[in-house]
Amino acid sequence: MTSATNVEVAQPPPAAPGGTVVPTTRLRVPSRWSFMLRRLGFYLAAAWAAITLNFLIPRMMPGDPSVAIIQQLQRVSGQQLPPETLVSIQALFGNPDANLFEQYLAYLGRLARFDLGTSISRFPTPVADVVSSGLPWTLMLVGSTTVVAFVLGTSLGVLTGWKAGGRLDAILTPASTFISAVPYFWVALLALWVFGFQLDWFPSSGGYDPDAQGVAFWVSALRYGFLPAATIVFSAFGGWLLGMRNMTVTTVREDYVLLAQAKGLSPSRVVLRYAARNAMLPSFTGFALALGGVIGGALLTEIVFSYPGIGYLLYDALTKRDYPVMQGVFLLIALTVLVANLVADSVYVLVDPRVREQG
């Protein structure tokens, strides 16, 4: 899906729709705050949509997931389920006896109490506890790698774009094109094979040394996390580089960069304060799309390294048909991504004084 970012890049922002072109010199520009309020409103709506989607998915599936879940839970527990658990499962995964609206209310009520059901594979642990055990690992892994990949890709993108046609461009651009097309988990497998098994530099699975305590625990977490993190950074930075490179090449030919050069400013100043500042802006609008890809890739990477994060939990849940955990994981990822997008929008508002209108 690299094309989407490339495509964005080449285009000027869309003009106002034909019927409302206003021939005037000054228009009231919406303030930053009202822009942020709009975005916040949108993300609240998106959160509601994610929650509702989470409600609808099991109910739209063939068969009856709630019946299957109850049967499985009874099998793993080897006894009749307590009525409270039954009510919870039916509220979350479908109740043939209630109408959809009642079910929806009951579902929202459950969510409000952070009740995501009971895990089948880890009976009787509540799903909320299961997913929250994986969350910090994934947040650390994805959060740090996204920042590193963004910074690395963007700065290299500025460099290659500024010296477009130069040697760096001739090497990095095709290489990034290739790298951004490689599946994350395949890179993970190669990394595991080379650095985990052949060279034996890093541990091949897990997120930490189970025997380590205190400082040693943290050191081990870094050592165990390095290979997964490096994989994600490696796979993700190419996309940022390509987008930024093309945007820089385009921006460098803008009049304000030409004028900055005519002003006799130092090249580094021209690049950083004039070209890069402006070339970066579309990266924020393309952030949502890119983040989705990184999350998906990171989940698969975790599986290769048996990293104890959300991805591994999801894999575990998928293989064991632990539907409650699956849904919990989805809800958690969806809400986290929305928060990340809101953060990206806030940064965008800070760096671009001309906050534009967009739905």
Partner: protein, 352 residues
């Protein structure tokens, strides 16, 4: 004018609502109470700066927007609520940008063929081809055959604009609206385009509206000129009357600001540009000034100008203006010195 107008705008007003974030919105008062009559065989020019509402007026006349108030009349009949499709058989608009008004993926033939076909479904293919060649030659693209299969990028700007005019003529309109039809063309070919418009009105009796920011080109081609400022029509009348003896301070400013090579050598450069430093800018159309919209920049402004909109005053020979000076018997002041000099004098008085 003895004949009835073909197309008229009667007191049309256009307000655009610009929606900001979370519910706040602003009204842009783009055109306020504008009236214009177009007669067969005559050219009316509407002159104004960007933001004066001249393009909005043209687009209302082309029925791309409906007026917020007032009405458009074709042959004396109000067109509101009537289908635009039939309307466009009589009224066509020529856009400013000939590069934008022809689809780059289609040949010249496609444009004319579609126009002819939509206009008359029964026309045969051979007949359409013959008509297309005729139309091209009508706009001086000869031999027309040579141009049928060209793509827009194979034509020069002037040729493109001629194709656009031919396409508009294909539906057999009574009225052509030109929205700055020459401003994107190279200076060397602009006059030939105006000569073409002039020929069309003479030979075909078309009624023309010529929208421009260039008062000299308006004078070259039109019969009557109307000056717009900040969404309002401030002055109108026979072109030479209006340009030689402006009856509104803004028209005077516009005329004096336009380059006039004839002045070269007769007046020194310093004289030409002295005092011209503080001519100001047009107001915002969201919160336009009370009273006369020009009063904040006007060296003759009085108390009354700040609160009451001036009425239309006829100054004879079809020449009119909306300015309180005429009501107050001070009209002669407009012609007594240059606008810039009057401005300087006012500022000195204020300081003193």
């Amino acid at each position: 004018m003895s004949t009835a107008p073909v197309l008229s705008a009667v007191d049309v007003t256009k307000h655009f609502v610009v929606r900001g974030a979370v519910g706040d919105s602003a009204v842009v008062r783009a055109v306020e109470n504008a009236s214009v009559d177009l007669h067969a065989g005559r050219i009316v020019a509407v002159v104004g700066e960007s933001g004066s509402g001249k393009t909005t007026l043209a687009r209302m006349l082309a029925r791309f927007y409906d007026p917020t108030a007032g009405e458009i009349r074709l042959d004396g009949v109000s067109v509101s609520g009537r289908p635009t499709r039939a309307y466009h058989q009589d009224v066509q608009l020529i856009f400013q940008d000939p590069f934008g008004s022809l689809n780059p993926v289609h040949r010249v033939r496609h444009n004319l063929d579609r126009a002819l076909r939509i206009h008359d479904r029964r026309m045969s293919a051979a007949e359409r081809r013959r008509r297309a060649v005729e139309l091209l030659e009508r706009v001086s693209l000869t031999p027309g055959e040579d141009f049928l299969d060209k793509f827009p990028h194979e034509l020069s700007g002037g040729q493109r604009q001629r194709v656009v005019i031919a396409r508009a003529l294909a539906v057999g309109p009574k009225v052509l609206l030109g929205d700055e039809p020459i401003s994107m063309l190279d200076v060397s070919i602009r006059l030939e385009m105006l000569n073409l418009l002039d020929r069309l009105r003479r030979e075909d009796g078309l009624a023309l509206l010529y929208i421009t920011h260039d008062i000299a080109s308006a004078r070259y081609v039109c019969d009557d000129v109307i000056v717009m400022y900040a969404g309002e029509m401030v002055e109108g009348g026979p072109k030479d009357e209006v340009i030689a003896r402006p009856a509104h301070p803004y028209t005077k400013l516009l005329v004096e600001s336009s380059p006039d090579p004839d002045r070269v050598g007769t007046v020194s450069r310093d004289e030409l540009f002295d005092d011209a430093e503080a001519l100001g800018e047009p107001p915002s159309l969201i919160e336009p000034p009370e009273g006369c919209r020009f009063h904040p920049r006007c060296p003759f402004a009085m108390e009354r100008c700040r609160s009451e909109a001036p009425p239309r005053t006829d100054v004879g020979g079809g020449h009119w203006a909306r300015c309180w000076l005429h009501q107050e018997g001070r009209a002669h002041e407009i012609g007594e010195s240059t606008f810039a000099a009057a401005l300087t004098r006012r500022d000195e008085q204020v300081r003193a």
